[in-house]
């Protein structure tokens, strides 16, 4: 699957001028502040917005091209759309909501695949209910299922978690993770929440006032201090694998360039996971620390120390292939005499582990 987008569009005083392409499956996050133009972009991809000028190519099919006057209507684009407020049809049962797109698909999804989706999203117990009898999280899951059953070639999600409180978010996030790892279709995920990006996204497109500020893999971009201003809590996100469970109750996580010891994970050896390492959870030492409580000390190389006047600085580090960030004070930098190229010891206070089944 491939998606090429190039748009120029004016909405009031706001000007959108963005171009990017997406080549792979998994989740690509369109990340940026409210009003940066993210929703406008996915509305144009879905065919809900007619851009002033622009060209959108989906899987080799030109669906929007203002130069040649091509505009494929939304209903023929096969782009699934999960709206922020679910937009369920209140006069239909959950089952009829789910089947709305399935019935209208040119090639209907086989029954077995439908059941897999219902199972994946835990929808079977909700089928007979009316949308008004669903919780916020359940509505979100039904909206996801409804879009998927129409067998789209691309799934667009517009801040599906933004309207939910923390417990509801926690309820729906695992479903999104499973979807990312099992569904065979690519997803464009609009969000302004860093935790959603680092937990869910494979690729990241940063949108700043209508323009693409950066694009790359989440593993690269989140450890780039250049985006410290865009990303409220920079750090690193990287894939790892459970190597073994030790008898002292710790689990060894192997990553590209090293290993981490974490409290026992109740998953079999070989399981692939996503590890998040926040910049303020990483301390630095010039000499190998002795007699400390931390289990994880990564011998690393200082790559960059950003200039600036903030009391803190996000120092970019490299350990093997792993790029990560440590946030320490400028006073500490001076005291330690840190400079690019130096060997340092990064003391990891804690990490966050998310399941990553595929990828």
């Amino acid at each position: 699957m491939s998606l090429e987008v190039s748009l120029r569009h004016r909405l009031g005083t706001f000007f959108l001028d963005a171009a990017f392409s997406v080549e792979r499956r998994g989740i690509t996050a369109l990340f940026g502040a409210s009003g940066a133009g993210k929703t406008t972009i996915i509305n144009a991809i879905a065919g809900l917005l007619h851009p002033k000028t622009g060209r959108i190519v989906l899987d080799g099919e030109v669906v929007t091209d203002t130069a040649s006057g091509v505009f494929v209507p939304a209903r023929r684009r096969r782009t699934g759309y999960v709206f922020q407020n679910a937009r369920l049809f209140s006069h239909l049962s959950v089952e009829k909501n789910l089947l709305f797109g399935w019935r209208r698909a040119a090639r209907r999804l086989p029954k077995q695949d439908c059941e897999e989706i219902l199972d994946l999203l835990g929808l079977a117990p909700l089928l007979a209910r009316r949308p008004e009898r669903l919780s916020g999280g359940e509505k979100g899951r039904v909206a996801l299922g409804r879009a998927l059953l129409a067998s789209p070639r691309l799934l667009l999600l517009d801040e599906p978690l933004a309207a939910l409180d923390a417990p509801r978010k926690a309820e729906i996030l695992p479903y999104l993770e499973r979807l990312r790892d099992r569904a065979r279709i690519p997803m464009i995920y609009v969000t302004h929440a860093t935790d959603e990006v680092s937990r869910l996204a494979d690729d990241l497109i940063v949108i700043e006032s209508g323009r693409v500020a950066a694009q790359g893999s989440v593993f690269d971009l989140l450890s780039d201090p250049q985006f410290g201003a865009l990303v409220p809590s920079p750090g690193a996100v990287f894939p790892a694998r459970i190597e073994k469970h030790r008898e002292d109750g710790l689990t060894v996580l192997r990553f590209d360039g090293g290993a981490l010891l974490v409290p026992r994970l109740h998953r079999p050896a070989g399981t692939r996971l996503r590890v998040r390492l926040r910049a303020d959870e990483v301390m630095l030492a010039r000499k190998a620390p002795e007699a400390i409580s931390a289990n994880n000390v990564l011998e690393s190389e200082v790559i960059t120390i950003p200039a600036g006047s903030d009391p803190h600085a996000d120092i970019r580090l490299l350990c093997g292939q792993l790029k990560f960030v440590s946030r320490i004070t400028r006073a500490s930098i001076e005291r330690l005499g840190l400079a690019p190229g130096q060997r340092v010891f990064a003391i990891i206070k804690s990490v966050t582990i998310d399941p990553q089944l595929g990828a």
Partner: protein, 237 residues
């Protein structure tokens, strides 16, 4: 006022005729105006519709004008000697003036704004973007209208039709002006009451027919309230 029970239960043949005629006139009036009201509400709910304010004003005019004026306008437009009226009789065999169909036309016109407003409100109350959601799921414009917009507007359509029916039962000025007061043809309930009051000793008949009107109106307004409550419950959910 409602006189004795024996009098009340026995309607004369003429009174029964007036009642049935009223029901027929109102049913035809509401059924005839409904497609117009629906089409207008759907068209005018689109923000970009040109001349929206003007059309909206024209649609509400029958509410503001005295019914006698509406009856008079219909008479000078569709009277048997007027060009349009004569043409309709000659070519389509339709005569509105002095016939019950004219009474239905006048009632339908006067109660059109009531139907239009109810449908319009129910369209406005719909969660925005449901039609867009249906489009991303493969539904074309007609499909969306039939399976999303109209079913969601149904409580409003029903409420509008019921209240228009109740209002139509009471229409007097436009009917008597346009189609006169012909027993069995255009003498609906209000006209029968008026006639009874004009005659010496007709008070009992007037009272019976008034009680009947009150009953009909109450029934209609209650039905409309129930339909509206359902609408509100659905939009709040």
């Amino acid at each position: 006022m409602a006189s004795s029970g024996a009098d009340f239960s026995l309607l004369t043949a003429a009174e029964t005729e007036a009642l049935l005629l009223s029901l027929r006139v109102s049913a035809v009036a509401v059924a005839g105006a409904l497609p117009l009201a629906l089409a207008a509400a759907l068209l005018l709910s689109h923000r970009g519709f040109p001349g929206r304010a003007l059309l909206e004003g024209i649609l509400h005019l029958p509410l503001a004008l005295p019914p006698v004026v509406i009856g008079y306008l219909l008479l000078i437009l569709l009277g048997p000697r007027e060009p349009l009226g004569a043409w309709l009789i000659a070519h389509l065999g339709i005569q509105f003036a002095f016939s019950w169909t004219g009474a239905a036309l006048a009632s339908g016109l006067i109660t059109l704004p009531l139907q239009y407003r109810a449908i319009r409100l129910s369209l406005q109350a719909q969660e925005s973007g449901l039609a867009e959601a249906a489009a991303t799921l493969g539904a074309g414009p007609f499909d969306r209208l039939l399976n999303i917009t109209l079913p969601l507007a149904l409580p409003g359509i029903v409420a509008g039709a019921v209240i228009a029916f109740a209002a139509s039962i009471g229409e007097f000025g436009a009917i008597i002006t346009f189609v006169s007061n012909i027993p069995g043809e255009t003498r609906t309930l209000p006209l029968a009451i008026y006639t009874a009051i004009q005659q010496p000793g007709g008070e009992a008949e007037a009272a019976r027919l008034s009680a009947l009107s009150i009953g009909l109106a109450l029934f209609g307004v209650m039905l409309a309230a129930i339909a509206e409550r359902r609408l509100r419950m659905e939009t709040e959910a």
